[in-house]
């Protein structure tokens, strides 16, 4: 975001589409233009990432870089809102791209039919101003974290389990990174986790809002803070988290 680049202006159509959010105090045409000229990487586009992508496409972010492998299976459909019943057995990323384009045909999409891995992470992060981490495996999360620290990009890290969720915004050089929080790979984490789409969707909307704020300069972000939510009793807590002075990634 620091680099100087030519800022594309809003078209008449865009002014009409975003009319109601242009009225948000502290946002306006200037904020909308920043979104239009921004790019966000989202990985993956499952229960959480689907909704992040949909909200950012709706909000008018100019470019989305989306990584998600595999074909649609029945158990995706309780939460992966960019997949459809008619798409069962077909490519997830094609479904993601098509559904986003239906909502916002102006959106530029870089669609990758594989998950984040060692071979693609550097290139994908380099194309983005902000990364939203919605991956179900710590290996993928740690790869994105390492790369945003290297490339000094902002990472919005969203995660959920059952009726619980958490989110923080990582700003390299300022805040703790994911490896400060988890210096070792968590052993208890399993690939299959209990999930309602309404829970992954809730933290996804929070993550999309964080990305919008980081890109447009609106409001205050969750930098250095971990917001935890438990929808079983509707408790929300903001915890302060610490940089690890011995962090192998950011120190």
């Amino acid at each position: 975001m620091q680099e100087v680049r030519y800022m594309k202006k809003l078209t008449e159509k865009e002014l009409a589409v975003y009319e109601w959010q242009l009225d948000v105090p502290g946002f306006g045409v200037e904020g909308q233009e920043k979104l239009k000229n921004s790019s966000v990487l989202i990985s993956r586009c499952g229960g959480l990432g689907s909704v992040v992508a949909y909200e950012l496409a709706a909000a008018g972010v100019g470019k989305l870089i989306l990584a998600h492998g595999g074909n649609v299976v029945p158990s995706d459909l309780n939460r992966q809102l960019l997949m459809t019943d008619a798409g069962l057995g077909k490519s997830r990323i094609n479904s993601v791209e098509r559904r986003l384009k239906e909502l916002n045909p102006r959106l530029e999409i870089v669609a990758i039919g594989e998950n984040i891995n060692e071979n693609n992470v550097a290139e994908l992060v380099s194309q983005a101003d902000v990364v939203v981490d919605a991956a179900p495996l710590f290996e993928e999360r740690f790869l994105m974290n390492r790369e945003v620290v290297r490339q000094k990009k902002v990472l919005v890290d969203c995660a959920m389990y059952e009726l619980e969720a958490q989110i923080t915004t990582i700003i390299p050089g300022e805040t703790p990174c994911l490896s400060c929080l988890y210096p070792e790979k968590p052993v208890a984490w399993k690939r299959k986790f209990p999930v309602f789409g309404a829970v992954s969707g809730t933290v996804a909307c929070l993550g999309a809002m964080e990305a919008i704020k980081v890109l447009s300069g609106l409001g205050e972000t969750l930098s250095g803070k971990l917001l935890t939510l438990d929808l079983r009793d509707m408790s929300f807590n903001e915890l302060s988290i610490n940089k690890n002075k011995k962090c192998s990634i950011c120190s």
């Binding site: 179900p136 969203c158 929080l181 070792e184 968590p186």
Partner: protein, 92 residues
Amino acid sequence: MKIKIKYTAQLKKAIGKAEDLVDVNEGINIEGILNHLNKIYSKEFANIVFNQDGQFMNAVLLILNGKQIAFNSEKEVKENDVITIMSPIAGG
């Protein structure tokens, strides 16, 4: 003195409850509390919080009254303090 401990995610499942009130001696630190919990809970607690050599797993987040605290912090835990022990989650 009584200390309230809260648990999240897989720890909540392992213990079978979201929070507990434990009775500990004054002057105790966070490490002492975790060792105490290790004695009163089943192996499932230890499997998440400690490794096979009995050392604390650094991927477990410890929160004292809303602020992250290190396992080896010397800070004394006081009556009515609330400790949250967070099992790492990555669901997307």
